[in-house]
Structures are given as structure tokens and as C-alpha cells.
Amino acid sequence: MSTQCSRNDDTSWRKRIVVRDGAKPWWYLMAASLEPTTVMHAASGQLNARPRVEIPSGVGKAAWLFLAPALVLIFVFFFLPVLASLVLSATDFDIYAIADPGSTRFVGLKNYGKLLQTPEFWQALRNTFYFALVGGPLTIALSLATALLLNHKLVRFKGFFRTIYFIPFVTTLVAVSIVWRYLYHTRYGLFNYGLGFIGIGPIDWLGDPNWAMPAIILMAVWKSFGYNMLIFIAGLQAIPSELYDAAEIDGAGPVRRFFNVTLPLLGPTLLFVGVITMIGYFQLFAEPYVMTQGGPLRATTSVVLLMYEEGFRWWRMGYAAAIAFVLFIVILLATLLQFRLQKDRT
């Protein structure tokens, strides 16, 4: 193995990772025989430098045959329902239609038009963005911070702390929401009790339209940062310590090391966590459903909660399907944006 480590030669360390991780003799041989770039792509999981291989005729049919069961399932349980709800979103299917399907009217894009004119929808969209854009980065920052702490050499009882921080993620959301409702209680809640000591007057956490969403964000961050933390820890552990040693020898301080070594190498992990967290947060539902029922003054009604109410409380299925599609488009755009941002950075 090479002992010199130049920061400009990007591939040498990656080659070493592969060799080091797969510590088996045949893997040494294979890695040595391949081009460094191929190993690099193998290591980062992007095999776009795939060698061209001739596929014998007949294999194509066999491949389709093997894929068929999965494709049929995806078609029946994914594409068909999506298609059906797209059709549904162009009708006024409702409670009357359950009794007499003949009373359904085809309304074209009217549901979408009505949706875009309803202040409740825009408020729900605003609430959802508020939740995702404040809660998302907060969750990622907090989980990265705890991951860095837990990954530090000096920290002891790592397993213990990891478990502690992960517990909120595996507890039942509904039970947790009920407990947090008590914590937020204006008169008897633990938060206001604590704030009272530092002279801050009681906050009406769930009753004040301005505080209700921050209260929900706080709980959601607490609930979900443990999962992201675990993924970040895994990502951090995949960064070879030699890089830090080298950076240190070159005179980089802890902050510099974080921005020049940790963050770039965490790139794919960060993208994954970012996308998953964002998709999850755009689908905010259970927290407001249990804690505030969307109130006060609809300040915590999310798009999914609105969809649920329209669809399963009032049985306006057509309208609810339209909401679902708008949400789908919003999430799709947000995900594409995130991929684009990530691409620009690397």
C-alpha cells in the first residue's frame, strides 16, 4: 500500500478502500487487475463505466420472464391504482356516487381548478412547505451533529447513546403525540414549567396559531432525527481515517476537516437523507392529526391531512384524488430540485 497521500490524486485512496474493506486475497487480485476508475465507480456504487458485453439472443426473453412477476405486481398494485385515481380526480365521485354510480359527473379539470381557488388548499400547502423547509434542514443538522458527536474518538458508551437517540424513531407516533400534547400543555406542561424558570411566560403551544406549527416541528424533529443519525454514522465510518490524518498533517483544523473532508465524502449519504426526509415531511399527517386535528385555525392542516379529510371524512373522492396528484407533483419537483442542487455541488 502506498504511504504517500496526495490530495489531488483522487483515485488512489478509493482504490485502497476497496482493497481494505474486502480483505480477501481474490479481491486483492481483482482490484489490482482493474483500472482504478472502475474500482472507484464500484466503490461509490455508480457503475456507469460498464464494459460492453455481448448478450446472447434469447436471453432477453428469459429476462422478461424473470421480471414478469415483479412487473405484474407493480402494474396491478401501483400503476393501475394511480391510473384509476387519475381518472377519479376528473370526476365528482362522492358519497352519493357510492349509492348510485350513475350520479357521478365527469368534471374534467374542475377539481383542480376548484382546488387552486380554495384558500384552505393554499394554506395547507404553505403549512406543508413551512414544515418541510424548516423541519427538514433542522432534522438533518441535528442528526448530522449527533452523528459527528457519536462518531468522535473521545465519546464513550457509543452503543448506549445510539440506542437512546434511536428510541424516539421506533416508538409509536400516536402514543408519542399524546405524551407531547401533555408536555405542551399551557398550564401543566413540562415545557412551560421549564421556561418559567428562565422567566419566559407561558406559551400556548398548541392553541396559538403561530406556535402550533413550531411545536409540531419540534416533536417531528425529535422523533425522526435518530434514523438519519444512524445513516450518517454509517456514512462517517466509511470515510477512511487516513484522510483525516493527512488533512491534519497538512494543517487543517477541525472546521476545515469537516468542510473539506467529511462533507464532500458524505455527499451521496446527504442526498439520500435529504430526499427521504423531505418526501417524508411533505407527507406530514399523523402529528397534526393526533395533536391538533389540523387546528387552531387550520394552522397545522397539511396537504395530506386535507386530502384525508376530503376523501375519508367527507367522501369527496374525486376532489381528494386531485389533491393527491397535486401533492405528487410538488414532491416530484422538490426531489428533482434536490438532485439538481446535489449535482451542481459535486
Binding site: A99, H185, Q293
Partner: protein, 411 residues
Amino acid sequence: MLLACSDVEAGDEVTLRLWAMGREGEVVSELIPAFEKEHPGINVEVQQIPWTAAHEKLLTAYVGEATPDIAMLGNTWVPEFVALNALAPLDDMVARSKELRRDDFFDGIWKTNVVDGKTYGVPWYVDTRLVYYRSDILARAGYREMPKTWAEWKTAMKRIKAQMSPTQYPMLMPTNEWPQLVGFALETGSPILKDGGRYGAFQDPKFREAFEFYLSFFREGLAPPVSSSQISNLFQEFERGNIAMYISGPWYIGEFRNRLDKSVQDKWMTAPMPGKDGPGAGMAGGSSLSLFAGSEHKEEAWKLIEYLSRPAVQLEFYRLTGDLPPRRSAWADTSLTNNVHARAFRDQLERVVPLPQVPEWEEIATTIYEHGERAIRGVATVDETLAGLDRDVDAMLEKRRYLLAQKDRGT
């Protein structure tokens, strides 16, 4: 066990399926053996459904053609299931019945089961809202009993408020509940909806009067602007005197008796709703027993409804659940006349008014409190609120108007 035995015995036995919700669903099984003894050919299978899942389960059962023979339905649900053509009309059976006399039932309650002139349910128990109050706090303000008119009621509350600390309130009306406001509207005689339930009637002077009365509780600091999810323990607040009055239904009699501390047990009472001038109107709530159109054993199912409606069986039901019976003859029994907290309900039941019978009612009710909440919090004026209510409710009733117009054209 019962089922296992009967399967062996019988050739032409009938099994009835009865669905009931919540506590009633648990308890009704205890009333069934006596019925099965009376009617050896009929078995009853009771299925208990939690309230939260009941509406969805009934709808999915209807779509899947798996409805029971009889179900307990909240009486505001009856019009919705009638709109689905899910229920069988009962008028012929009621007319023929020897046991079940329509005029023995409280009129307002019976009417909740009548849609377009046909009866689709028999009231099983009644629910109306009235005032629970701390008699000692009222006495301290100089009142020996609950005032009977709106004006006196407000004066009493102001006197109570004057003796309280700033965080205590004479009244609690959670902002996310509609029965209080709707109850006031029934008292002013507001129809709530107009033109046969085709449009909202919220800008009507009668609804406005009720709405302004409702709003004044919050504007004058007599009730806190809080929703029910912000009140962690109502019983504690009532016990500590942080709240002196609360509007609720009969199930609170049992709750207050079980949950309030001994020290305040002789310090609370119930009173009929005060009215504009004299005793006020109440909302006709409760649950009914309905027969499903898909049932293959309607005659037998009707026998079960008759049995469960018998005064003696209803009293037994009252003893098991605390639910109040809908028949005047059942109320003559001492177990009810001796209950000091139930008396006010007997009085109120003579003055109950049904809610608008449209399938959209639940949604309309939710919109009413949501708009009300905006006015309470000062986000909207009274004019804006009432106009907004009419606009939103008219939009909800669009499909109903369309279908009614089609029906008119057809006939």
C-alpha cells in the same frame, strides 16, 4: 356457545346480525339472552364496533353488500344512509306494532329519524345538551338555581367572573365543538339551512342573533377561547373551580359521579338550557336502531327492535349504560325520577329540535365551528363569518341541489 348449540338443533333458525358502537355495543349482549328465550327460532349475533371506525365500516359494508340486519346509527347519520338507499322504511311495521307507540316517544327525537316523510329508525337512546354547573359557585354569586333566560344567565356569569381570578372562567365552550352554537341557533328558531336543505341560512337574522350571543361569551371574557385538545383534564378544572359551567350530554352524569372528587360531589347540578325568554330549546341527538334494506330477515329484526324499545328493557339498558330512554313511559320509573341529575334532561327532552336532515350535516357542522373559531379569535368579523358560512355550505350542497333537481325533473 349459544351459536354452537343452536346450529346443532335447528333447521329453520334465523341468525340476526346486530352492530352497535362503543359502550352500547359491549352492553347490549347482556340484553340479548332474554330475547332469544322469548323467540327460540332467532339467534342474535352482536358485533361491537369502535365509534371512530364505525362510519367507515358501515360504508364499506354497504359497498361490499355485507351490511348487518340492524345497526345502531347516530341519528345525524340516518339521512346519509337514507341517501345511500341503505335503510329500509319502518312505517308499516310501526303502524302494525302493538308494543311500539310513536306518541310515547319524545317528538323531537322521533323526528330525527324521519326523512322525506318516511321513518328509517327507532330512537334507542337520547342525547341532548344542557348545562352542568357548580351549584356552590353559583350560590356564592347569589343564585339558588340556574337562571332560565339568556339575559339572566349572562348576568349570573358576569357576577361569577367578578369573583374569580383571571385564569378562571364561568363557562367553558371548546372552540372546536359545534353543538353549543347550533343549540343557540335552534333556540332562536334558525332553520340553519333553507329551501329543503339546498342552501345555508346563516345570514338569516335568527342565526345571526344566536351567533352574536355565542360570540359574546368569548368577547366578554366569560369563556376562554380554547379548543378541547388544550384542556388536558376537564374534571380537574371543574373540581378546582376553574370552570363553573359546561355544556354537555347525559353521559357526563356518570363521568362526573365517577371522576369528580368526593368533596365536590354535592356541589354540582344539571339544568335545562336557558332560552331567550324562558326555558330554551335543545338539540335532538342520540342513536337509533335502523333496519338495513339488504336484510333478509326483516320481520325477525323488527321483533328485536320492538324488544329493545320496551320500557322495561330500556330501563335495564339505562342501568347498564346510563343512556337515557327516548320513551316517556320509561321515564316514569323511580330509578330515573330519583336521579337528581337526570331530571333536567327529562325536562329538556320535551323541547328538543332535530338538526337539518341532510347527508352533508357532519361536514356542515364542522364548517360552522371552524368559521366560529375565526370570529372568536378576531380573524373575521360577524358579517364576514356568516357570509363565508353561507358560501362554503352552499358549495357543499351543490351535488345535493343537482340530484334534487334531477329527481324533480324525473317525477
